[in-house]
């Protein structure tokens, strides 16, 4: 039976991963996600799994590569500076078509930055991060329950498309406590049975996990194959939530923690007679371009809100493609925007647009 429990975001991700059949975790400590490895170090041995604290994020992601290549259901987690270190490995994982889950509980940057919540790793998560022609599938949960649900789903999606999947959270989501319904544990299926390097037993041909294609035409074909798979994901995996967009003059676009604040801002604005709606991407890669293009046809303006100085707003502009003005409101460095500031911003935009 599914059970309802109070969970901290980081621990909820960890428990959901175990219930999704994840049996291998490799990581390196960094705030604000330490509860994930700490939880896994207790929990995985209970279910016959392996938790290993690696010597660095570089080692951790390469352990993920080896484990995924050997057919293990595997994950790692970190926060911004550590995710930067993992980028080479993520590129190799994408190139070698390996499934895995990477959790980034984003903190402010650049450099060592701070340890409070931020959304300034959007470009890195969505536009590649590592070198080469590849994409990850990136989920942006906005509640502890959604972190559980998306974590459960992430492994299946990673295995279906044989690509790395990222959960892009932030320090607030990782630390907040909310009641969640935990799904029943699922057995790990053998999605990797046809390709994993487990030893060429029973006379089967040797297998290879790699990402090197020195002949240009072969690398071209390989990249086309990766791209085609991402196109399938674009067609099937885009997720978003649209609230009050039908009659909205101003549509807010925000994900994760910011989308929670935007929801309150929307309610405030509506209470004051300003028709505000919200589009909340749940996947930012693939990005819900169509949903945003659709609201741009009816809304007078869009307002993208981020805990960054403007990253997702570039995708919003691409989606809108000039059909409506796209405004931006952002805070950074660990500052969460307030609902009143966003509502006020939306009100000003609505006034200006209606006055036109």
């Amino acid at each position: 039976m599914a059970e309802r429990k109070l969970f901290k975001g980081n621990e909820a991700v960890a428990e959901a991963a175990v219930r999704a059949g994840c049996r291998f975790f490799f990581g390196y400590p960094i705030t604000p996600q330490n509860e994930i490895p700490e939880y896994m170090s207790r929990r995985l041995p209970e279910v016959g799994g392996v938790f290993l604290q690696a010597e660095s994020e570089i080692a951790a992601i390469n352990m993920v590569y080896g484990a995924a290549g050997a057919g293990g259901r595997v994950m790692t987690s970190s926060s911004s500076p550590g995710i930067s270190l993992k980028q080479e490995g993520i590129s190799y994982i994408a190139g070698a078509e390996l499934p895995c889950l990477i959790v980034n509980m984003v903190r402010g940057g650049p450099g060592l930055g701070g340890i409070q919540a931020a959304q300034s790793d959007y470009f890195q998560a969505v536009k590649g991060g590592g070198h080469g022609d590849y994409h990850c599938i990136v989920y942006t949960p906005s509640s502890v329950q959604e972190m559980v649900d998306l974590t459960m789903q992430a492994f299946d999606v990673a295995e279906r498309y044989r690509m790395p999947v990222m959960i892009l959270g932030d320090a607030v989501l990782g630390q907040m406590m909310e009641p969640v319904v935990l799904p029943d544990p699922r057995p790990t299926d053998a999605a990797s049975a046809g390709w994993a390097t487990t030893g060429a037993r029973d006379g089967r041909a040797p297998r290879l996990i790699n990402s090197i294609y020195l002949k240009p035409d072969e690398l071209f074909q390989h990249n086309l194959k990766l791209q085609a798979r991402f196109e399938q994901a674009k067609a099937a995996e885009v997720r978003y939530e649209a609230v009050n967009t039908d009659d909205a003059d101003v549509v807010l676009v925000a994900y994760g923690t910011t989308s929670r604040v935007c929801r309150s801002a929307m309610d405030r604005a509506r209470a004051a007679g300003v028709r505000v709606g919200l589009v909340r991407p749940i996947t930012v890669s693939p990005f819900p371009y169509q949903a945003i293009a659709d609201v741009a046809r009816t809304a007078r303006a869009l307002l993208t809100v981020e805990m960054s100085l403007g990253q997702m707003v570039e995708d919003v502009r691409l989606a809108v493609c000039g059909a409506a003005p796209v405004h931006f409101y952002g805070t950074t460095g660990g500052i969460v925007p307030t609902a009143s500031a966003i509502a006020e911003e939306a009100r000003k935009i609505a006034m200006a647009e209606v006055g036109k």
Binding site: F24, E55, M63, G66, A70, T197, T198, G199, A200, L208
Partner: protein, 251 residues
Amino acid sequence: MKQVYAVPKSLQPQATHYCPGCTHGIAHKLVAETIDELGVRDRAIGVAPVGCAVFAYDYFDCDFQQAAHGRAPAVATGIRRVVPDAVVFTYQGDGDLASIGAAEIIHAAMRGERISVIFINNAVYGMTGGQMAPTTLVGQKTTTSPAGRELGHAGSPIRIAEMLATIPGAAYVARVSLSSPANVARAKKAIRKAFDTQLSGAGFSLVECLSTCPTNWGMAPIEAMEWLEKNMIPYYPLGEFRTPEGGASNG
């Protein structure tokens, strides 16, 4: 008639891309013979490095993963934890293992990771065209030390076997040379011991193989062998630096 030699079954019967006289081929053969002797081809999983041996998987007839530069011990760790009964080995050059991958090899040894590491020390970065490696000898000319490696500028060459032998998790650590029939026979014994160490569960094992890179050294194959014996062996003494029984022997 008695057959005195056959290509090991764990090698695929095909020509390699290695330069004439390169010792990578010898090292491959010794590893493949060991896998054959132990009868573990069907549970062997190799990890190829970034370096001249990047295509090792084309030559070995067993499962393989190709790792990012220096990260083979981490990749091998991931494999080892998922497939507990696999026989896992990495094959790494000196740039790969002793420079960019120094942290990964130390910590794999520290964990006593049950993997066997074949470490090819040819004193240069072969694949990228002969640049200075952490193992390049003082005074040795390379494309990035054109006047010879300078001690005060680049420091002294790293002795990996001696360093790893200080780590308790490293159950078997030896240095061999691929430079003469007698040395190759000793190298074979060491590689066999490394795999035996893994199979016995004793911990991490590494065999450092002094190797030649005739192409980037600018020498004929025989001249390269002689250079290795005359210059590398004095700085990199051969022998076992750590054994599961606790012994060490030089010579």
